[in-house]
C-alpha cells in the first residue's frame, strides 16, 4: 500500500491492526491549510470493514518535531472529531478503505472556504465524553 498512496497522504503509524495514524495535507492553494500537515487517527473495531472505523484528527503540539494542528473546518470540532456522513454506520460502505477515507477528508478540506468551527463547538468540546461513533450527528449542511 505504501508505494502507491495518492499524493498528500502518508502512513505515520501502522504497527498493529487496531490503530493507524495517517498524515494528510491539502494539495491545492487553499489558504486555510497551506504548509500544514494534519494527523488522522484510525481506530478499527473487530468488525471492520463491515463497521466503519473511528476516525478523528489528533493534535501534536507546535513545539514537537512534527507539529500537527487540528484543521479549521465547519465540520471539524476543535477536539478533532469529524462530522462526516461517510464515517457513520448509515453512510459507511464496507468497500471504503483507509486510503479512500483519507481522500474524502482531503477533499473535504480542499473544498472548504470557511474559516470557522462548527456551531456549538466550545460546548461540544467541553461536555462531550462520548466516542465519535456514539454521537448522532445532524448533517445539517451538505454543501461543505
Amino acid at each position: 500500500m505504501k508505494e502507491h498512496l495518492p499524493p498528500g497522504i502518508s502512513i505515520a503509524k501502522s504497527e498493529n491492526l487496531e490503530e493507524w495514524q495517517m498524515d494528510i495535507r491539502v494539495l491545492d492553494e487553499n489558504p486555510l491549510y497551506q504548509n500544514q500537515v494534519y494527523r488522522l487517527k484510525f481506530t478499527f473495531s473487530s468488525k471492520y470493514p463491515i463497521e466503519p472505523p473511528e476516525v478523528q484528527f489528533i493534535e501534536l503540539p507546535s513545539t514537537s518535531e512534527t507539529p500537527r494542528p487540528i484543521p479549521i473546518h465547519p465540520h471539524i470540532y476543535s477536539n478533532g472529531i469529524i462530522c462526516l456522513d461517510l464515517l457513520s454506520s448509515a453512510g459507511w460502505s464496507p468497500v471504503q478503505t483507509v486510503e479512500s477515507v483519507c481522500m474524502s477528508i482531503q477533499s473535504m478540506l480542499t473544498a472548504n472556504t470557511r474559516d470557522e468551527r462548527p456551531p456549538g463547538d466550545s460546548d461540544f468540546v467541553s461536555y462531550n465524553r462520548r466516542r465519535p461513533r456514539d454521537i448522532n450527528f445532524f448533517y445539517d449542511d451538505d454543501n461543505v
Binding site: 468488525k47 470493514p49 463491515i50 463497521e51 460502505s93 468497500v95
Partner: protein, 511 residues
C-alpha cells in the same frame, strides 16, 4: 371535522380511478368481523348513537392480521403496477405505505421512482450466488478460485461471506430492515427480501421479518403497537394527530391494556394528550420539591429566587441579585436602622408589598399542590386498590368455601375491583385536567361531576375493607355501588368529551 371529510373525498376520488383498491378497506373490515369499516368521519354520524362521546372507533390487529394486511397491499400494488411483489414491497416501504401517492408517482415517473426507492430498472429474475473466475472481493480482498459471490441488480459483487456479515450487522446490530442498502459505496440499491433470504440464516431471517413488520406499523399513521410489555398486537384507529386537541382517543387492546392512541401513554381521559404531557413534565420538575419549598423557603422580594435560611441573622443578601432585605418582614434592610436582630417593622410599606407579591406566587404554588396532591392520591389509592384486588382473589376463594357461593357468584368482586381501578385512573386525570382549566360555569359542572364520582369511588373502595364473612351479604350493595361508579364515570367523561369536541373549554395555558 370538516377537514376530515375533505380528506376522505380526495381519497375516494383516487378510488374511482383505481377501483381495485377501494375494495381493500371494506374487505378488511369484513375479515375482522366488525360492523364498521375504516373511515372515521364517514360513519361517525350513523354509528355515533351506539358510541359514547368519549369513545373512539378502533380495531385490534394480531401479528397475523398485520401480515395479511401488509401482503394484501403489496399484492394489490404489485398487480396494479405489474411489478414483482418484492419490488412492490420495497416501493411501498420507500413510500411509507402511502399507496395513492406512490401509484401516482410511479405512473408519472416510473424510472425515477424506482431509482429513488433503490430499485434499478431491471428487476426480474431469481437471485443466485455465483463463482466468478478471477474475482477479488472489494471488502476482504479474498480471491480464491471457488469463492461464492453475490451481486444484486446494481452489479456490485462481493463474496458471500462479506455479504452475510454485512447483513447480519445491519439486521442484528443496527435493527435495520426495510432500508438496508447495497454494501457498495454510494449505491442506494435496497437489499430485497429475495436476496436476503438467499444469504442469511433462518434465525436472522425471522428477525428481519419481525423488523419489517414493525416498520409497517411504524410507518402507518393509523396503526400503533400496544405499549404493554410483551404484547404483540397493534391497534388500528383513524384519529389523526391534528384531532388530538378535540378528542382523547382511548383504545383497549386484546391484552386488556387501555391506552391512549394519540400518545400511547396509559388511558388519561378526560385530559387531552398535550395537557398530559405538560402536566407530567411539571410533576417531574416540581411535586415533592415544591412541597418542601413551600414549607421551608421564602423568595427574594426583588428577583424571586427561592431562598432557604439555614442559620445566621435576619439580614439577607440575595446571592443572585444582591438585594438586601429582612428575613422576617421581607422589607428593605436599609430601612431597618439598627434594630438588626429583632425585626419590629411589620407595618412598613416596602415589606408589605414584598409580602403581597410573595403571597401571589405562593398561591399559584398552592393551587398546583392542591391538584397535584389529589392526582397523586388517586394514583396511590389505585395502587392500594390493586393490592386489595390481589387479595380479592384469595377472598373469593375463601368466600366460596365459607359461604357456599359458587365461583360465578363471587365474580362481582372482580368486577368491582376493575371498576374501581378504572374510575381512579379517570379521577386522577380529572385533577390534571382541572389544573389547566380556566374557571367558568362549565368548570362548576365539571367539579360537581368530579365530586360525585369521587364520592362513589370512595364508597365502593370502603366495601373492600370489610371482613370476608360479611362480603357475601354485601353482594347486592357492592353490585349497586359498582354500577353507580361506572355510571358516574360515563357521565363525567361524556360531559368533558362533548365540551372538548365542541371547543367549549377555556384553558389557562396555551397548548
Amino acid at each position: 371535522m370538516e377537514s376530515d371529510d375533505d380528506f376522505m373525498s380526495v381519497a375516494s376520488s383516487g378510488d374511482d380511478f383505481l377501483d381495485t383498491q377501494a375494495s381493500d378497506d371494506e374487505s378488511l373490515g369484513e375479515d375482522f368481523g366488525d360492523d364498521f369499516d375504516g373511515g372515521f368521519s364517514k360513519d361517525k354520524d350513523i354509528v355515533a348513537t351506539s358510541r359514547k362521546p368519549y369513545e373512539v372507533e378502533f380495531k385490534v390487529l394480531s401479528p397475523d392480521d398485520i401480515d395479511r394486511d401488509q401482503n394484501q397491499q403489496i399484492n394489490e400494488v404489485s398487480s396494479i403496477l405489474s411489478l414483482p411483489p418484492e419490488s412492490s414491497a420495497i416501493l411501498l416501504r420507500y413510500g411509507r405505505w402511502n399507496r395513492e401517492k406512490l401509484i401516482e408517482g410511479y405512473m408519472d415517473h416510473p424510472e425515477e421512482t424506482l431509482e429513488e426507492a433503490g430499485l434499478g430498472t431491471n428487476f426480474e429474475g431469481t437471485p443466485k450466488t455465483e463463482v466468478i473466475p478471477g474475482f477479488v472481493c472489494d471488502i476482504c480482498c479474498e480471491d480464491g478460485d471457488n469463492l461464492e459471490t453475490y451481486a444484486m441488480r446494481c452489479g456490485h459483487r462481493f463474496c458471500v461471506d462479506c455479504y452475510r456479515h454485512y447483513l447480519a450487522q445491519k439486521i442484528r446490530g443496527e435493527g435495520e430492515a426495510a432500508r438496508i442498502e447495497c454494501p457498495g459505496d454510494g449505491c442506494n440499491m435496497i437489499v430485497d427480501s429475495k436476496s436476503l433470504s438467499l444469504l442469511v440464516t433462518p434465525a436472522l431471517k425471522d428477525r428481519y421479518y419481525t423488523l419489517l413488520q414493525r416498520t409497517y406499523v411504524d410507518d402507518k399513521e393509523n396503526l400503533k403497537w400496544c405499549p404493554a410489555p410483551n404484547c404483540e398486537y397493534a391497534v388500528d384507529c383513524s384519529v389523526k394527530q391534528r384531532d388530538l386537541r378535540r378528542i382523547v382517543p382511548t383504545v383497549q387492546c386484546n391484552c386488556k391494556h387501555h391506552f391512549c392512541f394519540g400518545c400511547t401513554l396509559n388511558d388519561h381521559q378526560p385530559a387531552p394528550c398535550q395537557l398530559v404531557k405538560m402536566w407530567l413534565k411539571k410533576c417531574e420538575d416540581d411535586s415533592e420539591t415544591a412541597n418542601w419549598i413551600s414549607a421551608n423557603t421564602k423568595e427574594c422580594p426583588r428577583c424571586h429566587s427561592t431562598i432557604e435560611k439555614n442559620g445566621g441573622c435576619n439580614h439577607m443578601t440575595c446571592r443572585k441579585c444582591k438585594h438586601e432585605f429582612c428575613w422576617m418582614c421581607m422589607g428593605l434592610w436599609s430601612e431597618h436602622g439598627t434594630s438588626w436582630y429583632n425585626c419590629n417593622r411589620y407595618e412598613e410599606k416596602s415589606g408589605s408589598e414584598a409580602r403581597t407579591a410573595q403571597a401571589k406566587s405562593r398561591a399559584s404554588l398552592e393551587r398546583y399542590l392542591h391538584y397535584y396532591n389529589r392526582y397523586a392520591n388517586h394514583e396511590q389509592s389505585a395502587k392500594l386498590d390493586k393490592d386489595l384486588y390481589l387479595k380479592t382473589e384469595k377472598k373469593m376463594t375463601s368466600l366460596q368455601s365459607q359461604s357456599g357461593l359458587s365461583w360465578i357468584e363471587v365474580q362481582f368482586l372482580d368486577t368491582a375491583s376493575q371498576a374501581l381501578q378504572q374510575c381512579r385512573q379517570t379521577l386522577k386525570w380529572t385533577y390534571a385536567f382541572a389544573y389547566y382549566l380556566a374557571r367558568n360555569n362549565l368548570t362548576e359542572i365539571f367539579e360537581d361531576n368530579q365530586k360525585d364520582l369521587e364520592l362513589a369511588v370512595e364508597n365502593l373502595s370502603e366495601m373492600f375493607e370489610k371482613p370476608v364473612p360479611e362480603l357475601a351479604n354485601l353482594k347486592v350493595d357492592i353490585l349497586d355501588k359498582t354500577a353507580y361508579c361506572n355510571k358516574r364515570r360515563v357521565i363525567l367523561l361524556s360531559d368533558t368529551a362533548e365540551n372538548l369536541k365542541n371547543g367549549e373549554w377555556s384553558f389557562n395555558v396555551e397548548w
